[in-house]
């Protein structure tokens, strides 16, 4: 073929993220088996170095690499799409602003960006809750509904087979503690209330749940 087709219609239909049979190639992949000098994010930390010096073209590269990660977690926590677009833009601008404060010793660029994005999303949700001055009991009701939704979404909407499989490897309480906190933005106190479980137990389940996830994903830093 010497010229590209005039439009996409002549092309065979393509699935973006095929799942049939994909598990066999996903499962054996350990994450982070590379040496300490070569962990995920090595490359982006060099891009960050340029961004920290005010390089807008490097920031354009960084934007392309990180915007889906940032937008995805913000939407997950904030839920309202219009607000999420606003928060995600604030996060991307914040990455530009704070670029010089990124330290590669403290972890990969993706982890740094995810932390900033999650924090902003949580701030948005919590300030909205404060503004609404909601009743305590009503909050608990919302949380109970929330974790039913989370459980369902964890089963059906995660696009990473590895993460889905690792979450399935947690106990019910570990999974709910982790997902209510991270995907719903609840504090550990709110998680304890929603799950009607003592605070020290929730702290412990968050910790052993994350340890199990970390080991399942083969994460190293």
């Amino acid at each position: 073929m010497d010229a590209p087709p005039p439009d996409g219609l002549t092309r065979p239909p393509l699935r973006l993220f095929p799942t049939a049979g994909a598990a066999q190639v996903n499962q054996p992949i350990p994450f982070g088996t590379r040496g300490p000098a070569d962990h995920a994010g090595t490359d982006l930390s060099d891009v960050m170095h340029q961004v920290a010096q005010g390089d807008k073209r490097a920031f354009s590269v960084l934007y392309d690499a990180l915007a889906p990660l940032v937008f995805g977690i913000v939407v997950k926590v904030v839920r309202d799409r219009a607000q999420s677009e606003e928060v995600a833009q604030e996060v991307m601008i914040d990455l530009w602003r704070q670029a010089a404060r990124y330290r590669s010793e403290a972890g990969a660029v993706t982890a740094w960006a995810a932390t900033i994005a999650h924090r902003r999303a949580v701030d948005r949700v919590r300030s909205a809750q404060a503004a609404a001055d909601r009743e305590h009991a009503q909050a608990a009701r919302e949380h109970t509904t929330a974790f039913d939704e989370v459980t369902e979404q964890v089963e059906t909407r995660l696009e990473s087979e590895q993460v889905r499989r690792c979450l399935r490897g947690l106990t019910e309480l570990q999974r709910q503690a982790v997902t209510l906190a991270y995907y719903r933005g609840l504090t550990y106190r709110e998680v304890a209330e929603a799950l009607r479980t003592p605070l020290p137990t929730i702290k412990t389940r968050m910790r052993d749940g994350l340890i199990r996830l970390r080991d399942c994903m083969g994460v190293t830093t």
Binding site: T115, L210, V219
Partner: protein, 249 residues
């Protein structure tokens, strides 16, 4: 402080999950500065929660990028919190001595070859050749990124990596970027493919995060694919695709 230091250790997981309130988070940040064990654990847990974030990644609206790029013109960057920035990588230093014109080019080369460059420090005589290859690759990659007709597509692999393809029809070239790509495992590599009317043609190998130029003829291709293959690559895919990104028509 609401917490004794001994209590603080138990909050690492809640901290990494973003499940502390503001006051507790500030206390814990102070604790982290003093506690190496918690710092290490927090880094591991944050790498773990970043995978939870990557699992729900989705592309933002296309118009958002232009708005952000316009907004940063007005935003002043903060100075580093520590006086000395981390040491420049070996390859970056070489490229700067070679007077590469574009700062972007250096960063892209480091992105494309960062892992290789680090390994090569054990093998000094290869550095010159490595730098030359990096130079050629970065020239080509930066030409694609700077092309007036450059078009960008985002995707995500089945194992959670975020990917971007920038293609230029004028130059008949395309660059592929991966972030958060899990290690392929020993004896294996990721292989890129160009889909020509249903026939997958090899388009290069990638085994860690970074940017590579696709080999082959992207202007005629309908999609870019990624599979896991035995080290060295295969003439045609031997596993199910982890990713198929439709290229702009």
């Amino acid at each position: 402080m609401k917490h004794h230091a001994t209590d603080a250790h138990t909050l690492v997981a809640a901290y990494a999950l973003g499940a502390l309130d503001d006051a507790e988070r500030k206390d814990f940040d102070a604790h982290l500065r003093a506690c190496e064990a918690c710092r290490q654990e927090a880094a591991e847990f944050q790498a773990t929660t970043a995978r939870l974030a990557a699992a729900v990644a989705q592309p933002p609206p296309a118009a958002a990028k232009a708005q952000v790029m316009a907004a940063i013109d007005e935003v002043r960057q903060l100075p580093p919190r520590i006086p000395a920035p981390s040491a420049a990588p070996v390859l970056g230093g070489i490229l700067r001595r070679r007077a590469v014109p574009l700062a972007l080019a250096a960063s892209v080369a480091a992105a494309a070859l960062g892992g290789v460059a680090i390994r090569q420090t054990q093998n000094g005589q290869d550095l010159e050749q490595q730098a030359r290859q990096a130079q050629q690759q970065l020239d080509a990659v930066s030409a694609v990124l700077a092309a007036p007709d450059a078009r960008t597509v985002h995707g995500k692999t089945a194992n959670g990596a975020l990917t971007t393809v920038v293609s230029s029809e004028q130059q008949n070239k395309a660059a592929f970027t991966a972030a958060n790509l899990p290690a392929p495992g020993s004896g294996k590599t990721y292989q890129l493919w160009l889909d020509h009317d249903g026939t997958m043609r090899p388009a290069g190998l990638i085994d860690h995060d970074g940017t590579v130029l696709l080999t082959g003829n992207p202007a005629d291709a309908g999609a870019v694919g990624l599979t896991l293959e035995p080290a060295g690559g295969s003439p045609q895919p031997t596993t199910d695709p982890l990713l198929l990104m439709t290229l702009p028509a």
